[in-house]
Subunit: 481 residues, 2 copies
Amino acid sequence: MSDDIRSRTFDFKSAGGALEARFASKFTIAPGVRDHHGHDEGWHAPARPDGVLFAATTEDVVDAVRICARFGVPVIAYGTGSAMEGSVNAVQGGLTIDLSGMNAVVAVNATDMDCTVEAGCTRSMLNSFLRDIGLNFPVDPGADATLGGMAATRASGTMTVKYGSMRDNVIGLEVVLADGTVVRTGGRARKSSSGYDLTKLFVGSEGTLGIITQLTLRLHPIPEHVLALRAVFENTGAAVDFVVLLMQMGYPVARAEFMDERALEAVCKYEKLEYELRPTIFLEFHSSVTPLEDTRQAIQELLEHCGVDAVHFAEDAEQRAEIWKARHNAAHAEPLLRPGAKAMVTDVCVPLSRLADCITETQRDLAETGLCAPIVGHIGDGNFHLAILIDPESQSEIEEAERLHAKLVDRAVGFGGTVSGEHGIGLGKRQYLEGEHGSGLTVMKTIKRALDPRDIMNPGKIFLPAPIGFEDRGPIDDTPE
Amino acid sequence: MSDDIRSRTFDFKSAGGALEARFASKFTIAPGVRDHHGHDEGWHAPARPDGVLFAATTEDVVDAVRICARFGVPVIAYGTGSAMEGSVNAVQGGLTIDLSGMNAVVAVNATDMDCTVEAGCTRSMLNSFLRDIGLNFPVDPGADATLGGMAATRASGTMTVKYGSMRDNVIGLEVVLADGTVVRTGGRARKSSSGYDLTKLFVGSEGTLGIITQLTLRLHPIPEHVLALRAVFENTGAAVDFVVLLMQMGYPVARAEFMDERALEAVCKYEKLEYELRPTIFLEFHSSVTPLEDTRQAIQELLEHCGVDAVHFAEDAEQRAEIWKARHNAAHAEPLLRPGAKAMVTDVCVPLSRLADCITETQRDLAETGLCAPIVGHIGDGNFHLAILIDPESQSEIEEAERLHAKLVDRAVGFGGTVSGEHGIGLGKRQYLEGEHGSGLTVMKTIKRALDPRDIMNPGKIFLPAPIGFEDRGPIDDTPE
């Protein structure tokens, strides 16, 4: 990539030799493996690393980072490659550390409702492990991502409206820093006022400050009572207004998802469903102690008050599963609307009071372009995604999509919102960071420079590669080995 | 203080002249005012600043910090002085900026359930302002602290068990950095994955990274249904076991507070109450939509199952207020047990599964000393306080109390807990930070040094004043004025 001026200024050959000597067959430079690790599920141009290490232990990560530090080689953490913003693309080359083999559930404390896992453990692995003890890890980004990757991206998902995001549910971390130091942040207490909140600093840092190798997570009881439904509205404004009203009323909303006509069209094709192709809200309520019959009645009345067209309650677990499978497969289904296209996915999140305006004004902008962009959203949180279906070879389409995106971001930030609700900055949203954070961006760069002075941790992500005073990446001799 | 080797290396006379020229009567060096600002409610030796500024605007804070930066003068933020760990004591001299005049409620967004306030607004001011619109800010540390101070300390309180602490309820900040730059962090969206979480970094940083001048806070509906009660147990273990069990069951616990015999004795004396002087749990439940009759019945049964001695439900708002006034006045009442004493207050927080052990083992340690230390706790969070009543003039008592404290901290950290649940580190808990955080302490120092290279922001707090590579504090000429 043209803007990555600092790439290729390091000596991978020497680093590769040291890595091979230390790791033997766990380290590879096989082109197929490098290709596989050079991209995520987003639309960004792939960029393969110079080598890949399949780490089995924290010590592996420490030794690999030390070797890379010695030779000034970039280090990129990789989980399942399910991110959207090019977070794993090795735009400056270097070593990718694949953590998927570090997938153990290290400890579960049922009384305290917490657990410790290795970074490569996925959320479905963890939830399978937990099922028998009635607990659950509810952060659910759709993809079966690794928990380390989800923490790095500060991911959220459909159940964040009730249970919070990774920000709220990661209570401790083990992180390998740029010099190979292992840091353990946070702890298992429910709260703490002991020093700077390093856990929250590393959560969402996208591998640019260190590599997460272990996480301590808050767990939640599997709810006793669940109520799910699909509500169809005449137009988007009515659907969004209903959710905003619902959110103010104190019902135990666990999911509040929106899909527009195009998104439903894609999903119905993909899943062979016959849902109405009109703006739809998927809802779920959870309760531990109080049955939800009263809630069902109250929600039915509220929906009618808000002018709903049709309400379909899920009457059993199977019908519930169908709804959420449909919702989760939107990301895979949407490209069906335009074969060969890739989705440039927007991710703004705004205060609920501005959500209806933000979506409907954006739909108006969209209609003025020639672009196809189904919309889905975690709208109980104020977060929605346009999947702008672009031909990745067409520069003019990319530019038109970027103009739409830029307009959306301006609107969201103007409404007190954010450029990214849950996907992170990666490569695709770096240009919007200054507009959102102003002088806060300088603070972020100061922290990055202090903790990774030679910019070897996932370089080129979050920050545009403008000169921000990093030290030279030339080899150093002072790393103990 | 002997360990503050860097104090008095700056030129306050020149700084004072510039402050007087800029601020006229808002700036003072009057001894009485300086004395008033040289201590909080804790036991630490007072240390008065060289001058005090009564700030009225963020611009005042910016200009004052710039002047102080130019002359290398320490800057300490002051709210109401209700902290416990000497957070405002000017141990290296300098300028104290009193923010209590900046107490406006800047904006309330009822639909989004958030608000923006100036740092000097207290929680009771805010809640008076909110009462008519049915919203509430529930973080409640007892004292009527300023919200800026509460954020700086990452405070919590009796309702954190349901609503979270300042960590969870501060969603955005305006902060003045060590060079006078104004940074706005966070925003009003319910979630974000946009860059490093600076809000969470400044929350709990105790004024060592910058001065909070404005906060955006999450609000909560005033609950429709409230149930409160006082439950008396034969012994501490049974009382704690009951709360741990209760916390696992999913009832809407809003407060779960413990007081031991000594704490009750003090409070009954102070408030002229006739409560049983046995281990007692104060409970409150909140619900927005579901009435709590069923909960009342279920809790009564659970209490009997756990061997409760006596249960007293609060039958109206007045009886509820009595319970919580008693609980909140514990801090003021406890010194009555030993006239002239000061309370060295411990603040550990441990996972719930270890709470009964942690309290009962500590009671055993306490019994082996000659010390009097009533115990209260936010035990739904695993957080409890010993108020060790010491003669602040007696070095041997201080040492004995510190030995007890150190043993308690070791135990709590060994249990996966923290040295401070809610009071912060300040002066009193600095020596325990390395034991809890290990190499994480180095990361904290790296961040401090990067954002405040000359150590002028509340120096001597959080970190022991060992040499950590700060730059010289001599005057600089490059500050724009």
